[in-house]
C-alpha cells in the first residue's frame, strides 16, 4: 500500500510552480523582519522566482486527473497558469522601483501569493481548492489595496472592497455547499461525472428535472464570481475602489481577479453544464444558465458603457470600461452554454481574455509610467499634450485605446468579432439580440475612449509631463503592443490553442 508521504508527493507534483510561489511569498514575510533591501532587489528576486515557476510549469499535453484528485493539470490550466504567471511578471516589472522600501517585501510577497492564487484557481479540481485559491487571491489583495497609501480614499476603497468581497465570499460558499451536497463529494471531477451520468440516463426522458438547488448553486456562484469579474449587478464597488486605490493595486485589481473569476466560472460551468459530446441544451440547467448569462451580459455592457460616458477620472473610466468588457466576455460564456456554439463561445472568451489582459495592462502600464512625484495623472485632462511631450507613448496609448474600442487592425476587433459571430450563430433569437446589443455597445464605448485619444492629441497641457519612462515599463508596454497587433495579424495559432482548451474531457 502506498504511503501517505508518497501520495502527497504524487498529488503535489503538478502544482510545484505554485508551491514555489507560496514558499517564496511566505519567505518574504519572514525575511522582511531581518533583511532590509531596496524595492528593486525584491523585484528582481520575485521576477526570478516567477521565471523559475514558468520553467517548471508542466506542459499542456500532460493531462493529470485521476478522479478525485485535489488539483488537475490539462491544457486549460496550462493556458491560464501561463497567463497568470505572465501577468504576474508584468506587474512585478511595473512595480520595479516604485514601492517604498519599507513595505517592498510585503508588497512583493503578496504579489507572489496572488499569482499562486490565480494559478491554483485554474488548477483546482476540488471545491475546497477552488475556494481557498480564490481567497488566496482576495486576502493579499485587501492588504495591497491599503499597503501603498493610507489616505482617506485608499481607506474607503479598501473598506468597500473588503466588505463586499466578504459578502460575495459568503454567496460563493453557499453555492459551493449545494454543489457538494449534490454528490457528497467536493471533487469537481466527481460532480462532472455525476452530471454526465445523469445526462446519459435521462437523454430519453424530456421531463426530467435536475434538483433546483443546483440552479441556486449556479446563480450564487455566478453572483460571487461576477463580483470578481465586475459583472453587473455585482460591479458597483469597482468604480469607487478603482478611483480610491493607488494605481498599482488597481492595475492588479483590473486583471487578476478577472482572470481568476473567469477561470473559476469556467471550472464550475464546465463541471455542471458542459459535457462535450453530450447535447448541453438537453440539460434544463444549461438553458437557465444561458438565460442568466444573457441578462448579466446585457446589463454589464450597458452599465459599463453608459456610465463610462460621464467619467473624468481615468481610473474610474477604466473601471467602467472593465465592466463593459466583462459583459462582452460573459456573452462568450453564455454562448458557450447554448448548444452548438460551445467551442466558439468559450474559445472566444479565452481569446478575449488574452486581448483584454494585453490592452488593459498596456493602458495601465502607460498610466503608471507617467506618474511622478510632482505630477500625477488622475483625470482624463491630465493627459493633455501627451502627444507633444511623449509622442511615441501617445501613439502606443492610442493603439491600446483603439484596441479597447475594437477597431481594426488591433486584436480587439477580432476578439469582439469572434464573440459576436458565436452569439449570432447560436441561432437563438435572444443571443442574436445580444450580439446586436454588443455591436451597439461597441459603438457607444468608442465615444469615451475616443475622448481620451482626443485629449492626448488635440489639446495642449498647461504644464507638460516631463517624466522619463523607465525601461521595465517600456518592456511591458511594448510586449502588450506586440500582442495587440500580433493577435490581429497571426490569430490562427492562438485560436487553435484556445479551441483545444475547450475540449477538456
Amino acid at each position: 500500500m502506498q504511503g501517505v508521504y508518497e501520495w502527497m508527493i504524487e498529488a503535489s507534483r503538478w502544482v510545484r510552480p505554485e508551491m514555489l510561489l507560496l514558499l517564496a511569498g511566505s519567505g518574504y514575510f519572514l525575511a522582511a523582519v531581518f533583511v532590509s533591501a531596496k524595492s528593486r532587489s525584491w523585484a528582481i528576486a520575485s521576477l526570478l522566482i516567477v521565471l523559475l515557476a514558468a520553467i517548471w510549469l508542466p506542459s499542456g499535453d500532460a493531462d493529470f486527473a485521476t478522479p478525485a484528485s485535489f488539483f488537475r493539470h490539462d491544457s486549460f490550466s496550462h493556458f491560464l497558469r501561463g497567463l497568470g504567471l505572465g501577468l504576474g511578471a508584468a506587474l512585478i516589472l511595473l512595480s520595479w522601483d516604485r514601492i517604498p522600501d519599507r513595505c517592498a517585501a510585503e508588497y512583493f510577497g503578496c504579489l507572489l501569493l496572488i499569482i499562486a492564487g490565480v494559478n491554483l484557481v485554474s488548477a483546482a479540481n476540488d471545491l475546497i481548492a477552488l475556494f481557498l485559491a480564490l481567497e488566496l487571491v482576495s486576502i493579499p489583495t485587501y492588504v495591497l489595496l491599503y499597503l501603498l497609501r493610507a489616505d482617506d480614499a485608499a481607506q474607503e476603497a479598501t473598506l468597500k472592497y473588503f466588505f463586499l468581497s466578504v459578502f460575495s465570499a459568503a454567496l460563493l460558499l453557499y453555492g459551493l455547499s449545494f454543489l457538494y451536497g449534490a454528490t457528497g463529494s467536493t471533487n469537481l471531477e466527481v460532480l462532472r461525472g455525476a452530471v454526465r451520468q445523469w445526462l446519459e440516463q435521462e437523454s430519453t426522458s424530456a421531463s426530467s428535472t435536475l434538483p433546483p438547488t443546483l440552479l441556486i448553486a449556479m446563480i450564487m456562484i455566478v453572483a460571487a464570481l461576477g463580483f470578481r469579474v465586475t459583472a453587473a449587478p455585482f460591479h458597483f464597488y469597482a468604480p469607487d475602489v478603482y478611483q480610491g486605490a493607488p494605481l498599482l493595486p488597481v492595475t492588479l485589481l483590473s486583471l487578476i481577479p478577472k482572470v481568476a473569476g473567469f477561470a473559476g466560472l469556467y471550472q464550475i460551468v464546465s463541471a455542471t453544464l458542459l459535457i462535450p459530446g453530450a447535447d448541453a441544451a438537453a440539460s434544463p440547467l444549461a438553458a437557465s444558465a444561458s438565460g442568466l448569462f444573457w441578462i448579466v451580459a446585457l446589463v454589464s455592457m450597458f452599465m459599463g458603457n453608459l456610465m463610462g460616458l460621464w467619467q473624468d477620472d481615468l481610473k474610474r473610466l477604466l473601471a467602467y470600461s472593465g465592466i463593459a468588457h466583462a459583459g462582452y466576455m460573459i456573452v462568450g460564456l453564455g454562448t458557450g452554454c447554448s448548444s452548438g456554439m460551445i467551442v466558439e463561445g468559450l474559445a472566444g472568451l479565452f481569446f478575449y481574455l488574452i486581448v483584454y489582459s494585453a490592452m488593459t495592462l498596456g493602458v495601465f502600464a502607460i498610466l503608471i509610467a507617467l506618474q511622478s512625484r510632482d505630477r500625477t495623472v488622475v483625470n482624463v485632462d491630465d493627459l493633455a499634450g501627451l502627444s507633444k511631450s511623449h509622442p511615441i507613448l501617445a501613439v502606443v496609448m492610442a493603439c491600446f485605446l483603439f484596441c479597447l474600442m475594437g477597431l481594426p487592425p488591433t486584436a480587439g476587433f477580432l476578439a469582439k468579432l469572434n464573440l459576436f459571430l458565436a452569439a449570432w450563430n447560436t441561432e437563438q433569437r435572444l443571443y442574436r439580440v445580444l450580439a446586436l446589443v454588443m455591436a451597439v455597445n461597441a459603438a457607444i464605448g468608442a465615444w469615451y475612449y475616443l475622448r481620451v485619444v482626443g485629449v492626448m492629441f488635440l489639446r495642449d497641457a498647461v504644464k507638460p509631463l516631463s517624466v522619463r519612462v523607465t525601461w521595465p515599463a517600456w518592456i511591458v508596454i511594448l510586449l502588450c503592443l506586440f500582442i495587440v497587433f500580433w493577435l490581429f495579424f497571426q490569430p490562427n495559432t492562438t485560436w487553435t490553442w484556445m479551441e483545444a482548451i475547450t475540449q477538456r474531457r
Binding site: I139, A157, V166, S177, G181, G184, Q311
Partner: protein, 148 residues
C-alpha cells in the same frame, strides 16, 4: 436516522443566511455588518454539516473547518481595518465612507431626526482603562465623551 433531517438543516441554514444578509444590508455599524456576514457563513456551515451527515462522510465538516480558517483570517483583517477606520473618523458608521462616488452626486444624509426614546438614555458600558491609569481613577464615560 439522520438522513431525513437534511432538509431541516438546509432550511435553518437558508434562514440564517438570509437573516445575515439582511443584517449586512441594513446595520450601519461596521462590526455588526461583519458579524452579519459571519452569520451568513454559519448558514453555509449548517448546509455543509447537514449534507455531510446525509452523505455519511467528513468532507462537509472538513469544508467547514477551512471556512472557519478563512473566516478567522477575514476577522483579523476586518479588525485591523475597522480599527484604522475608527482612528481616522472616530466612528464605526459605514455611511461616513461615501466620498468615492459618482461626480455631481450629493452625499446621502439622514433626513429624519432621531426619536428620543425614554429607554434610550445613556447606558454605561464596560470600558477599557487607558494605559497608565488605575481603573478606579479612570475618567467616567461622560468625561471621556467630552474629551473625544
Amino acid at each position: 436516522m439522520s438522513q431525513a433531517i437534511l432538509p431541516n438543516y438546509l432550511i435553518v441554514g437558508a434562514i440564517l443566511f438570509g437573516l445575515g444578509a439582511i443584517g449586512f444590508l441594513s446595520r450601519r455599524n461596521l462590526i455588526l455588518m461583519f458579524l452579519s456576514a459571519e452569520m451568513m457563513l454559519q448558514g453555509v456551515a449548517l448546509n455543509l454539516v447537514g449534507f455531510g451527515g446525509h452523505h455519511k462522510n467528513y468532507q462537509g465538516q472538513a469544508f467547514v473547518i477551512f471556512m472557519l480558517t478563512v473566516a478567522a483570517c477575514e476577522a483579523a483583517l476586518a479588525l485591523a481595518l475597522i480599527l484604522v477606520l475608527f482612528r481616522n473618523r472616530k466612528t464605526l458608521d459605514v455611511s461616513v465612507w461615501q466620498d468615492l462616488r459618482e461626480a455631481n452626486q450629493d452625499p446621502v444624509q439622514d433626513e429624519s431626526p432621531l426619536l428620543l426614546e425614554p429607554e434610550m438614555t445613556p447606558m454605561h458600558f464596560p470600558r477599557l482603562t487607558p494605559a497608565g491609569l488605575r481603573p478606579d481613577q479612570a475618567a467616567s464615560p461622560e468625561e471621556a465623551a467630552t474629551r473625544g
